[in-house]
C-alpha cells in the first residue's frame, strides 16, 4: 500500500444535547477546525466524504443537506451511511485511488430523534422488527451468550465501566467522566439483563472530522503525519441467530488482514494504545479477544491483570471510550482521532507516554455485525 497519512483531526465535545447547534452547524465547525488543525485550506481538499444516517437526521439523503457545510460546494462529495471508521476507510481508499487529500466528516444528534426507534429499524421488518428488538436488547443477548460460554460474571463487565468512565475524567471531550465503583455499576438501574444503566453507553450529540493525504501532500500540512499502516473490515451474517455471538469472527478476519498489511505478528507487543468501540461494557473484553490480544474467553483477564488500565502495558480507551461518549456514527471516527492525538503526543492528560503504534476500531450493525480495524503509526 502507498504511504498515506492522517494530517488533520477535529472533534466536538460530546454531550447529551447540543441545543444551540444544528447538524449543519456541527459539520461546518468541524470542517473549519480540521482545516485549521492541518494548516490546509479548502483549495487543498480534493474531495469530501460525509458520514450520516437518514433516520438520525430525520431526512432522506441527509448527506446532501450538509455538503456545503463540509466545504463540498463545487467539489466531489460522497457519503457513507455507517460508522465513521468505515467513512474514513472509504476516504483512505479515495486517497489511495489517486486523490491528494480527502476530508471525512461525521455528525449525529441522537437527541433530536428517538434512538430506540431508529435501532429497531435496523432489524429485519418481516421476522424481527415487530418483536421490538433494538440495539440494547440485541446486545444483551450477546452479553448473555458471552457470559455463559466462559463463565464470566457481571462484575467483570462492571470493571470496564469503572475504568473507562474514570479514564474519561482526563478527556475534556467526553460526555460522562465519572468516578465509579463496581458497586455503583452493579447497583445501577437494570435495563436488559445482564446490562445495567452503567454498562450502556449514553446517546451523545457530536461531530468529528479528519483529513487524509497522500505522502507527497503530507509536507503541505503543518501537523505531524499519522501514517495508516493497515486497515481492513469484514462483515458476517445479518440475523443474530445465525451468528455465534460470543465469537466475533468478522473482527478476527478484519484484524488479521489489517495486521498483515502493517506486518504485525504479535499485537500485544506491537501496539502501545487501543481505542475500540465499547458501546456496552462487555464489548471491550470481547473485542480484545477478536483483535487477538488474548485467547477467546480471556478478555476480562486483561483488565483483572491491569494490562488495559492507563498504567498497564496496553492502555485501552484512554479517552473513556464509547461508554463515556457515544455520538452514533461519529464514535468510530473519534476512536481514530483519539489514536491520532496519542501518536502526535497531543493527548494531554490521557496521553500514553511515547505511544508510537495505535489501534482504532469501529463497528456497524447489531452486536458488531461488521468491524473496521485501523493500524496507525507515528512512523512511516
Amino acid at each position: 500500500m502507498d504511504n498515506i497519512a492522517i494530517v488533520g483531526a477535529a472533534q466536538t465535545t460530546y454531550e447529551r444535547r447540543k441545543k444551540d447547534k444544528t447538524c449543519y452547524d456541527l459539520v461546518f465547525e468541524m470542517t473549519k477546525q480540521v482545516l485549521e488543525d492541518s494548516g490546509l485550506t479548502l483549495k487543498d481538499i480534493d474531495n469530501v466524504i460525509t458520514v450520516s444516517n437518514d433516520f438520525l437526521d430525520g431526512r432522506t439523503i441527509s448527506s446532501m443537506a450538509v455538503g456545503e457545510a463540509a466545504g463540498a460546494h463545487d467539489k466531489n462529495v460522497s457519503t457513507v451511511e455507517g460508522d465513521g471508521t468505515f467513512g474514513a476507510l472509504y476516504g483512505a481508499m479515495r486517497v489511495l485511488g489517486g486523490f491528494n487529500t480527502t476530508l471525512v466528516v461525521a455528525h449525529s444528534k441522537g437527541s433530536e430523534g428517538d434512538v430506540k426507534h431508529i435501532t429497531n429499524a435496523m432489524f429485519d421488518p418481516i421476522f424481527q422488527r415487530f418483536l421490538g428488538l433494538e440495539a440494547i436488547t440485541a446486545s444483551a443477548l450477546q452479553a448473555s451468550v458471552y457470559m455463559d460460554r466462559y463463565g464470566i460474571r457481571e462484575e467483570s463487565f462492571a470493571q470496564v465501566s469503572v475504568k473507562n468512565h474514570g479514564n474519561a475524567k482526563n478527556n475534556p471531550y467526553a460526555h460522562l467522566p465519572m468516578d465509579l465503583t463496581i458497586e455503583d455499576v452493579m447497583g445501577s438501574r437494570k435495563i436488559a439483563d445482564p446490562l445495567k444503566l452503567l454498562d450502556c453507553s449514553p446517546v451523545s450529540d457530536g461531530a468529528a472530522a479528519i483529513i487524509i493525504a497522500n505522502e507527497s501532500y503530507t509536507s503541505k500540512a503543518k501537523t505531524k503525519p499519522v501514517w495508516i499502516k493497515g486497515l481492513a473490515h469484514c462483515a458476517e451474517a445479518y440475523f443474530l441467530g445465525d451468528r455465534d455471538l460470543a465469537d466475533p469472527r468478522s473482527l478476527r478476519d478484519a484484524a488479521e488482514k489489517a495486521y498483515a498489511m502493517a506486518e504485525i505478528t504479535d499485537p500485544m507487543k506491537a501496539f502501545d494504545v487501543v481505542e475500540l468501540y465499547d458501546a456496552f461494557s462487555y464489548m471491550e473484553p470481547l473485542w480484545l479477544e477478536g483483535l487477538g490480544f488474548c485467547s477467546p474467553g480471556e478478555g476480562c483477564k486483561l483488565l483483572d491483570d491491569g494490562i488495559t488500565t492507563m498504567s498497564g502495558t496496553l492502555p485501552v480507551n484512554p479517552s473513556g471510550g464509547v461508554l463515556s461518549a457515544h455520538a452514533l456514527l461519529v464514535a468510530g471516527l473519534a476512536r481514530i482521532i483519539e489514536a491520532v492525538l496519542q501518536l502526535r503526543g497531543e493527548a494531554e492528560n490521557r496521553q500514553v507516554p511515547g505511544a508510537k503504534t495505535a489501534l482504532a476500531h469501529g463497528i456497524n450493525g447489531p452486536c458488531g455485525q461488521s468491524h473496521c480495524v485501523w493500524v496507525l503509526s507515528s512512523e512511516k
Binding site: G58, I126, F127, T137, A140, L141, S144, P194, G241, L245
Partner: protein
C-alpha cells in the same frame, strides 16, 4: 446589525416521519408465515451444501452463496441459547416489560430464532427448554407474532 448568537433563545420544532410500507415477504418467507398461520407449524429449510438448517427459512445460503430448496418441518420446542429480561419500556415492544427476548434453537434447526418469553422469567436461563405458544387460529394473520411467545417447559 451584528447579533450576539449566544443571547438568542434556541427554538425547537417537533416533527415526525411516518412512512407506510407494504413489504413483500418473498416466497420462502410467505411459506414460513403461512405455516404459522394455517398449521401452527414452524418451517425451516436446509442448505444441502453446508447442511445448515435455517429458521426463518431463506431463499439462499449466505455462507455458501447457493439456492436452498429443501424445506424442513421443525419442532415447536427448542432450547434457549441466549436470553435477556427486558426491564425498560418503549412503544415498539409487543408486550409490557418485564418480558424476555431469547434466541431459541428449535429442535431440528442449526440457527437461533429470536422471539419473546412472557412468563416464568425467574426460571429463565440459557439451556432451558421452551415450547411455542400459538395464538388462536382466528387471531393468526401470517405474522411472526402468530407465535404468541415461547413458554418454559
Amino acid at each position: 446589525m451584528t447579533v450576539n448568537l449566544d443571547q438568542v433563545e434556541p427554538l425547537t420544532l417537533k416533527g415526525q416521519i411516518a412512512v407506510p410500507y407494504t413489504w413483500w415477504v418473498g416466497e420462502v418467507g410467505s411459506k414460513f408465515l403461512i405455516a404459522l398461520r394455517d398449521e401452527a407449524k414452524i418451517i425451516g429449510n436446509r442448505c444441502t451444501k453446508c447442511n445448515t438448517t435455517y429458521v426463518p427459512p431463506r431463499k439462499n445460503c449466505g455462507s455458501c452463496f447457493t439456492d436452498i430448496y429443501e424445506f424442513v418441518e421443525l419442532g415447536n420446542e427448542g432450547i434457549v441459547s441466549a436470553h435477556t429480561v427486558v426491564r425498560f419500556k418503549y412503544p415498539l415492544q409487543p408486550v409490557e416489560s418485564p418480558f424476555a427476548y431469547a434466541l431459541i434453537r428449535l429442535d431440528g434447526a442449526d440457527v437461533g430464532l429470536v422471539h419473546i418469553i412472557k412468563r416464568d422469567l425467574d426460571r429463565l436461563k440459557n439451556g432451558v427448554r421452551v415450547k411455542a405458544q400459538f395464538k388462536d387460529p382466528s387471531e393468526r394473520t401470517g405474522h411472526i407474532l402468530d407465535i404468541d411467545s415461547f413458554q418454559i417447559i
